[in-house]
Symmetry: none
Subunit: 398 residues, 2 copies
Amino acid sequence: MDLTPLVVEGATTKILLVVMDGLGGYADAAHSTELEEAATPNLDALAADGISGLVEPVGPGITPGSGPGHLALFGYDPEEFQLGRGALSAAGLEFVLEPGDVAARGNFCTLDADGEITDRRAGRIPDAEARALIERLQKEVKLGGVEVFFRHEREHRLLVVLRGDALDPRISDTDPQQIGVPPRESVALDTQAKRTADLVNELDRQIRATLSGEAKANGVLLRGFDSHRELPSFRQRYGVLAAAVAIYPMYRGIASLCGMEVLGRPANLTEQIAVLHAAWDDYDYFFLHHKYTDSAGEDGDRVRKIAAIEALDAAVPDLRALKPDVLVVSGDHATPTQMAAHSWHPVPTILWSKRGERDEVERYGERWSAHGALGTRPTKTLMPIMLAHAGRLAKYGA
Amino acid sequence: MDLTPLVVEGATTKILLVVMDGLGGYADAAHSTELEEAATPNLDALAADGISGLVEPVGPGITPGSGPGHLALFGYDPEEFQLGRGALSAAGLEFVLEPGDVAARGNFCTLDADGEITDRRAGRIPDAEARALIERLQKEVKLGGVEVFFRHEREHRLLVVLRGDALDPRISDTDPQQIGVPPRESVALDTQAKRTADLVNELDRQIRATLSGEAKANGVLLRGFDSHRELPSFRQRYGVLAAAVAIYPMYRGIASLCGMEVLGRPANLTEQIAVLHAAWDDYDYFFLHHKYTDSAGEDGDRVRKIAAIEALDAAVPDLRALKPDVLVVSGDHATPTQMAAHSWHPVPTILWSKRGERDEVERYGERWSAHGALGTRPTKTLMPIMLAHAGRLAKYGA
């Protein structure tokens, strides 16, 4: 439903969304979920004071990437609004894509003598080393009639942008997402994209030539080709001034694509909370991103994921001290440590507001949240509920 | 899903829908919800015998007007079928709108010497006084080439209908929905509606001239301009003969727009139940509307809302004595007394049928209903479930 006609002008309420990346998990014969097992006295108190539920980011059984997971939390239907990894990376680096540009996420990788991938992340090479290689690529690689931009993200990750006439992002990845095979040729997914695929394959040859002397980072895998996208902004859609407090480029990027102001350069949760406090008077809506639940989940590290949840729990009193009118804690998707990957499992969610509808749930965790007043619902439905609780939506119909 | 192809012909089962207007509420630090606190032994017994859930009338976070709230209960998607207040008022007064008519809801209001509104309801002037003023308006106001009808609803409320060529309801309200400002000029929301907006502004001038001597009711605020709408009927959509037992015009009107027979002129719940009993053999589906939960909610009167719930509870044995095959108790939206207004909060719902699927819920109220077998679902999904429980829907697909 288009909320724009219902937006209440002049509201002064504040909304805070806390996203623990990859929060969700599942219980198995050996273990409860990471969240169930974590000691979370402050989140439990919040669950007791507010209402709980489970959210499904994209759809039942669908494992979301970080883009759709966040868009859903922001109330943008992730089937309607699709962002390639390239556009996300560019936004995260504050690289402004122009109409017609084609962007991709790149990974430095290690290729063996047969050209097969032995490490998709080139041993997670340090930032300084990656930056030097990127400078070399920027100098040496030349495509006829098309500009190429290489930008470093973090560790082995980079952004690659092509700029020129008649480029088309509808081409396949060169990243096969596995080791023991060579990188793939990029293939046009539409007849109009033939030239772009050819350019990308030529780019791949030049990159390998330039990096041929490297022991670790002697190739680049490309994925998520995408073009410039305009998303309608939070201000347009919801009438709120929104700000993001995130450490990692991609989440800063998604927030910025939705028209959020991306605040400061915090390096850890303590700094994030300081940034939040400093900016509290200046915005209506705040998105706080906590990455380490997901990183630990992706590494299959149960102990570290639990610790990351507990670190966020310890910050909850500082968040409640801001006295938001609406406070939501959720995640963009599940990353169960048993799978060491994103998954489709629903994500436990708490909503607290002065119009809070306390339910009977008194702990935060999959098995308890399932009984809450929010029920099990699509993630994208949280945003209108948050706006409603903040008194920011008018009545529909006579 | 279009149910028409699934409708079972010749079924003789009976469905009873009981709507407590504005039933839902929310718990806060000081209070349980009104329904949780009310003593409802009969509704609790019904919840124990049947299945429970929560319903969202229009969408998550959306606060419904009475029109969309009821359309959803009747199984009409409130985003697909939209009714202006004018069309609802006309239907409630049994004023038959012709194609091309433009109708609006009017309020007598009080204007001060500067033409600013001091009371949007003209002190809720008594019916007799309002009727006399409406007779005067009907006599004095003349618009070139267009007929104007004034009809009294209740207290300060009236219906205004324009009839003539090339009228267009896409114009803005003159009611600013606040005091301390003058009524608004009506503005065309579409270029084709320019003449209608001009006519309405001329109408406003003539109304003020006619009422200029009045102390209280010296103006009329207009809102919800709408034209004649045809809704598909219950008979067409569901193959049922439907009847409504309601006291207030608007609910009688909505029911009639859906093709229900509006029964009798009951003045209170006892008379409503007598009407229901008398007509029980003649229809398949009955809609019983209980208004006072909402009136009390709108007044922020917690004690009176609880009493209104308890009054309905006392009638439940009489309703069960009819031996309906399917009995549903729900509400068209929430009207929490803390807000003294409609809200988006989900509405607790009971469904009882011989195929009743008893669940573990044994009390009627937000916190208990949330655990029921109906789950949390859109209100519009209740209608197919009711028809199914009544054996009125055939198998889908081979």
